[in-house]
Symmetry: C2
Subunit: 486 residues, 2 copies
C-alpha cells in the first residue's frame, strides 16, 4: 500500500524534474525569478529549461514563450515567481496545457489575511480542477543537490550530501547556504514548503523517507496541519532515518510570528514533545543544532552506547568536553589500565591517557591521527570518539600571516609539509561502526577542510560537538527500541 | 585600601611591560618560544625586546645574551618557555639580577604528579625569595591588545576591543584567536593563568576590574583556589563590569580532566552557582556563550527591561527569535496600534509591523537601516532591538560566484552600490541606551563586516542572538539591584 501511495507522491516528479518552465524570470538579473533561473542554469541541472515571458524572446540565452499555449512541449514542472494576482490565472493556463506539477514561490496569499486567503483558495481550486500538485506558495523553492537542480534564490556550490531538509521557512533553504558551506553541512534535497497549500510536510517526509541518498532529515516546523498523518509518517520514516525537528510554534510569541509568516497555527510545546517521543524525533532548540545534528546523523554510524572517548591536545577543550558529556548524558569512562598502556605507547611522558586523552600539544601524524584513534575505535570500552583540535596547517597559516616576510618561504611551501594524511582515520567510523565527531576553533586548515569535505561532523566548539554526539546516542537508543527491520 | 592593594598587583607591570626578555626562543621559528617572540615582535609592541640564548648572538635580529648577568638593563618582565628542569634555576638567575615579574609558559609541573609538584614548589620558593611574581607555569601567555603586547602563540590581528579574558586553559587564549576574529569578538586583555602558582584568577579579576579599556570580563574556570577572595573580587568588580563564567570543574568527568590539565580541584556545580548568584556572574554553558555574551556585554548598553523588538526580512528567523525570546525569558510585546502605524509607513503592504517586524525581503537603506530602527529605539514600548539578516552585499556576492561571467561586471563594481550606510544605525544604541544584537547566516557581507568591526554583537543564528540578549537583560537586572554607585 505504501509504495502505491508513494507512486502518487508529486514530489517524485518535482524533485527529479527533467524539464522546467520558469515564469517570472527576465534578463534583469536582480529579480528573484531571474536569480532562481541563474541558479538552475548554473547549478549542474541536466534537464531542459524554458521560460515564459510576455515580451522577451530569450531569457539568459534560453527560449522564452509568451503563453503556455506556445510552449513546444509540456514541461514536467513549472516554477512561478510571478506577481500574486496573475499567478492563479497562469497556473490555470499551464494546467490547461498539460502541466501537472509546480513550485510557486510567489507570496501574498494566506499569510496576508482574508484577501490573500481568498486568492490562495482560488489557487488550490484551480490546481485540484487541473490535477496539479504544487509546492508553496510563499516558499523559496526547492533543491535537489543530488541532481544539481536548484530552484532557490541562493547558489548551492557544495557536493551533494545526505541530509534532507523540510522547512516552513524559506530562509533556512536559502540564506543558510553560505552557513552550511562554512560548516561542511551538505544537502541531499531541501524543500521549502511555504504555505503548504497542496504539498505539505507530511508529503515531504514520505518522499525524503524513500530517497536513497537521504540518510537523515532536518525539519523546521512552525505548525503541523495534519497531525495524525505527520505522526504516522514520522514514525515510519524514523525507523530507518533519524529525524531532527526545530519546532518554534509552541510559544505564544512564536505562534503569533508564525501566523503572520506562513499563516500556520502551532500547537503547544508539550503536544509536539509528545509526537517527538513517540516518533523518535530529536527536538533541536536552535538552527545550529538542527543542521549540525542532522548532518552528523546523516554521515556517522549511531553509537551502541553512551561511553565516549575524548582525544585532544588541549586541556581546556578536553575538560569542556568531559564536563559537557556529563551534563548531556554521555559517559567519559576512565580507561582500563590495559587500554591506558596501549595509548601511552604513543604519548609524550607528560600526556594523559586516562580519558580524556590529552597529547599536550604534540600533534604527530602517527600518534594523533593514526595510532591512538585506531586504538580507541577498536576498544570495546567506548562507543564513540570525540576529537578536538585535529588541525595541521592552521597554526602555520596564522604564523605566516604575521611573520611570512621573515620566513623566506611561500605560504604554500610552508604549510604543505604539515598536512596530515587522514585517509586511515576517515575509514575508522565505518569499519568499527562508531561515530567520530570533531570540533576545532581554527577553520582555515587542511585537516578541518578535509573533515568538512568528507562528512566528519566538525563543530565550532567542544560543547557543540558533545551535544551532537548526545543526539547521536539518543538516536542510537531509539533505533535499538525500534529496529529498522521490525 | 583597595587602591593600595591594587598598586601591589603584579599584573600592572606584567600587562603593561615596557621591556621583555624572552628565554626559550631561537631563530628556529617552529619552536613555541620563537612563535611567542614573533607575535611580540610583530604584534605592535612598542617596548624593548631582549633574548636569552646559550649560543645565538641575535634572535630575530634582536640582541641575545647568554646569561641574566649579561643583560644590559633589567627588563620589566621575563617570558620563560624553557625546558622544565632548567626553569627554576633560570628564574633564580633572573631574580638575582633584578627581574621581579615573569610569565612562565613552561609545562611539566603540578599537573604532572608528585615530581612536577616538587619542581613547582621550588619555583614558588625561588620567586618568594627573590620577590618575583609570575603568571603560570603551564600557561599559554598573556595578551594586552590595547598595548599590542602579545606573549601567546597565536597572532592577534584585530583592533583592540573591550572584553577581558581570564582563562585556566591556554587554548582559549590562543587557538580561539581565529574564531574570535571570524566572529568580531575583540579583546582588551587576556590572561592564561595556567597553574596559577603565583598569580591567580583573583589577581586577574582585580586587575581587569580596574582596567579602563575592559568593559566586561569572560572567565574560563576549572576550579577556584581562593574561594572567599574570588567571591569578594567578583562582587566588587561585578558592580561595574558584567562577568561571564564558563565553569567546567563541577562534574565528575570535568573534575578528573581538570586534575590532569592544571592540577586544580573543582567544587560541585551548585556551589559555583551560589557564587554566581551572589556576585551576579552570568554562567555560560559553552565557550560560544562565554565569548559571545561577554563581547555583547562589553559593547552594548544594558537593557532596562525584557521587552524586545525583532526586526528582520525573513519570517523563519523572526519566528525562531520570537520563540527563543519566550523560552529564555524575554518578551516580544505586540506593538501598540500607534507604534505599528509609525512602522507601517516604511513597510510594503505585505509586511508585518506587529513585532516581529518582517520586511518580507524588501531591504532598503531607508526602511531597514535608517527609519524603522530609529522608531524602534526611540519607542518606550521596548528595551532592546534584535535584528536578523541585516546584510547588503552578501547575496550579490553569492550570485556573482555562479553567474559572474554573465553579468559583465567585476565583483567589486557589482557589489559596491549595494553597500548600506550604517552610520546612523550604529549611533542608536548609545543614543537611546538600548542594546542592538544581531544575527546573520551570511558572513561574507559588507554590513556583517561593519557590525563585527564596530562592536555590534553578530551571532551566527537567531537563537544565539536571543540568548545573548537574555544575558544582557539578566546583567541589567543585576545592575539595578546593585547600582555601580553603591
Amino acid at each position: 500500500l505504501h509504495e502505491e501511495l508513494m507512486a502518487d507522491n508529486p514530489l517524485y516528479t518535482i524533485m527529479q524534474a527533467r524539464s522546467v518552465v520558469i515564469a517570472g524570470a527576465s534578463n534583469n538579473f536582480m529579480k528573484m525569478g531571474s536569480i532562481q533561473a541563474l541558479n538552475l542554469l548554473h547549478g549542474g541541472f541536466r534537464g531542459e529549461v524554458l521560460f515564459l515571458h510576455p515580451t522577451e524572446k530569450t531569457v539568459f540565452d534560453h527560449p522564452a514563450y509568451r503563453t503556455p499555449a506556445e510552449l513546444p512541449f509540456v514541461p514536467e514542472v513549472a516554477l512561478l515567481t510571478t506577481p500574486t494576482r496573475v499567478t492563479p490565472g497562469l497556473l490555470d493556463g499551464l494546467g490547461e496545457h498539460g502541466v501537472r506539477h509546480a513550485v510557486i514561490t510567489t507570496a501574498g496569499f494566506r499569510e496576508m489575511g482574508p484577501e490573500g486567503a481568498r486568492l490562495e483558495a482560488e489557487l488550490l481550486e484551480i490546481a485540484v480542477r487541473r490535477g496539479i500538485r504544487f509546492v508553496g506558495p510563499n516558499c523559496i523553492g526547492v533543491l535537489n543537490a543530488t541532481e544539481g537542480m536548484n530552484l532557490t534564490v541562493v547558489p548551492y556550490t557544495d557536493a551533494p550530501g545526505h541530509m534532507g531538509l523540510i522547512s516552513q521557512s524559506g530562509t533556512y533553504v536559502s540564506q543558510t547556504m553560505p552557513y552550511l558551506r562554512e560548516n561542511g553541512i551538505r544537502y541531499s534535497q531541501a524543500i521549502s514548503v511555504g504555505n503548504a497549500t497542496s504539498i505539505d510536510v507530511v508529503d515531504c517526509l514520505d518522499y525524503l523517507g524513500d530517497d536513497p541518498e537521504t540518510a537523515a532529515i532536518a525539519m523546521y516546523i512552525e505548525g503541523v496541519q495534519r497531525g495524525r498523518e505527520f505522526l504516522a509518517a514520522a514514525t515510519r520514516v524514523g525507523r530507518t532515518k533519524p529525524l531532527v525537528a526545530l519546532y518554534v510554534g509552541g510559544s505564544s510569541a512564536g505562534a503569533r510570528s508564525s501566523q503572520s509568516h506562513t499563516g500556520s497555527l502551532g500547537s503547544p510545546d508539550r503536544l509536539f514533545d509528545g509526537v517527538c517521543a513517540q516518533a523518535g524525533i530529536l527536538r533541536a532548540s536552535t538552527v545550529d543544532e538542527m543542521f549540525g545534528w542532522a548532518n552528523a546523523l546523516a554521515n556517522m554510524p549511531l553509537p551502541r552506547g553512551r561511553r565516549m572517548a575524548i582525544l585532544t591536545h588541549s586541556g581546556g577543550p578536553a575538560t569542556s568536553m568531559a564536563d559537557a558529556c556529563e551534563r548531556w548524558g554521555l559517559e567519559v569512562p576512565e580507561f582500563s589500565p590495559a587500554l591506558q598502556t596501549r595509548i601511552r605507547a604513543f604519548l609524550e611522558p607528560t600526556a594523559s591517557a586516562k580519558n580524556p586523552v590529552d597529547l599536550t600539544f604534540v600533534m604527530g601524524q602517527e600518534s594523533f591521527v593514526d595510532k591512538i584513534p585506531e586504538v580507541l575505535f577498536a576498544s570495546d570500552e567506548i562507543d564513540g570518539v570525540l576529537v578536538h583540535g585535529m588541525m595541521d596547517t592552521g597554526f602555520a597559516l596564522e604564523m605566516h600571516k604575521v611573520a611570512g616576510h621573515m620566513l623566506g618561504i611561500s605560504r604554500e611551501d610552508f604549510i604543505k609539509p604539515m598536512e596530515f594524511d587522514l585517509t586511515h582515520l576517515l575509514e575508522l567510523p565505518a569499519r568499527y561502526g562508531k561515530p567520530l565527531v570533531a570540533s576545532n576553533f581554527i577553520r582555515e586548515d587542511h585537516a578541518a577542510q578535509t573533515f568538512r569535505e568528507r562528512g566528519v561532523p566538525l563543530f565550532r566548539t567542544p560543547e557543540a560537538a558533545v551535544k551532537a554526539m548526545a543526539a547521536l546516542a539518543r538516536a542510537g537508543e531509539f533505533r535499538k527500541r525500534w529496529p529498522a527491520s521490525d
